[in-house]
């Protein structure tokens, strides 16, 4: 359960951070978002990332919490990259 909570916060955190990059906005929406929206995405991304850290440390203490958190953010980043790849592939098949 604890792990799920950390993962459920860090995964959207990376998804939001990825969406805050213009390259990925181009890939996903075909256009760049307004600067305000991009800023919002980035801010919420960082907030979610910090929240996942806070949860990890609160649940497991500093030492175990930090290690666990590092593992989870690595996994989240990998999932986001893989989803982006799958998305690209679907797009190129459609074409």
């Amino acid at each position: 359960m604890n792990h799920l909570a950390i993962q459920l916060l860090s995964l959207p955190a990376f998804a939001l951070l990825a969406l805050a990059m213009d390259r990925h906005q181009l890939d996903l929406f075909g256009r760049e978002l307004a600067p305000g929206q991009t800023r919002g995405l980035r801010r919420f991304g960082w907030l979610a990332l910090l929240a996942s850290l806070a949860v990890a440390v609160a649940l497991k203490g500093w030492s175990l919490g930090l290690v666990t958190w590092c593992g989870h953010i690595s996994l989240s980043a990998a999932i986001v990259i893989l989803s982006m790849m799958a998305w690209e592939q679907r797009k190129s098949v459609k074409k």
Binding site: H24, A78, M84, M85
Partner: protein, 567 residues
Amino acid sequence: MTAIEKKNSKPGKPAARGIRQTMSDLHIWAGLLVGWILYAMFLTGTVSYFKEEISQWMRPELAHQAVVPDPAEVVPRIAQEMQQVAPGSNQWSLGMPDARNNVVSAFWRIAKPEKGERGFGSAVFDPQTGQKVASRETVGGEFFYRFHFQFHYMPVLWARWLASFCAMFMLVAIVSGVITHKKIFVDFFTFRGGKGQRSWLDAHNALSVFGLPFHAMITYTGLVTLMTMTMPWASTAAFKTQAERQAMQSEISAFIPAGKPSGEAAPLAPLGDMVRQAQQRWGEDRIGRVTVNNAGDTSARVIVTYGDFERVSISPKYMLFEGSTGKLLEVKDQVGAAAETRGVLYALHLGRFGDTTVRWLYFLTSLAGTAMVGTGLVMWTVKRRTKLPNPDKPYFGFWLVERLNIAAIAGLSIAMAAMLWANRLLPLEMEKRSDWEIHWFFILWGASLVWAMLRPAKRAWVELLWAGCAALALLPVVNVLTTDRPLWRSLIEGDWVFSGLELSLLALAALHAWLAVRTWRHKPKPKPQRQVAPRPAPARAADVGAVVPSAVANSAVIATDLQEARP
């Protein structure tokens, strides 16, 4: 982007070498020269996070352990047996079974070693019966763990030096890699598939970046585990006398040397009571190890050591008892800051504190690290292939790197699987059976190197990847035929050690099949006739330029690549 890089991204115009170009060369060569060893260190280290599970699988005669036995009952049982197994030994030590480990692993000093005999003995015991494990001779998953930092067939000290040396190169490669690719964080989620070298590069970057905290940590902490060997000067300068050194030793490990025996016989007080005291202090399931010095003598000492659970440090935590009376002499709960730092770094590397989820996270990130080294190695050839005058007859250096890549990457999977095959197939009563399990690992590894050298490169890749796939996928089948613990039974009975391991083998087999199909389907394109414009904006060419300036100087854009992985 700086002016220098702009200049470099134009073909045929060598410019002054910038810091990143220098770093790029450093990255490439530091990575390549020890890359094959690093790949093996990474992969064997990765599976070592499950070495206890592998060991259990390699001893199928021992039933699945549903409940962890109480150490307070186990210790007296095994202690009795130790009188017969290691008579007169002045020190023996018992590692307790836990949730992932169903045996007691003991080691002891041999009282009077024969000439040429090693001074230590070791064995595994069944915690239920107290007898030596009635199972096939095997070193189990311990082999991969040992191989990870001290290889095999060579003096341990040399091997550890070599491992340290490679780890230092790895650290250099990580740091220079980050400097080389300054946009590493900007390109964070980017993967451009089907683009030949650029795809390899993206994959390499993605694998490196998302695991970067882990890779940096594991490499650095790996060096720390061997630091007293590679950099002994600080401690030899600071600690001059034997007593001082011993004090330092006891700060960093729970090892307490056996003193001189008094010569007066005295039976050990009940060991179970001492274990109970430790359990009261730390908790029922926190006992890691019980060591007895000078058993049967009035000078006997019993050390009950805390396990690696739920604590990110391996700094010593133990209780010291007087053996003959059972009186508590000392409780060691904390150490100095330096020793604690080392303890934490060491523990981070081993990852033994983790619960199942953390262990899997360690495993997966570490596997990504293995793939990072692997993609890096392959990239060396991918990048140079386009520049070969005749791809059918590459120069010797290229040929060698390519063949070593095949044997190091595809061959290692076969070798590791071969050891598990040997575990099931070698005759049970064979002499030196556990040694032969290891020999088969190396025989198959060597055979894949020979195969890689004799076959055309692409065929060798595909064939060895399929061989690896088959070797992994058929292991659960061999297990059905040679034991009475088939996968379906393990699943029904909830034996997650056996079923988890075999399902992982099948997943890894699928991964090998996927790689084999991708390699097979890939059709080398004819030599590029023109330089393809990058997509969609020139800025992208600049990205690549920043990453591999030397390649860019020649070919401007790398989208056309002979070893493109995509069909």
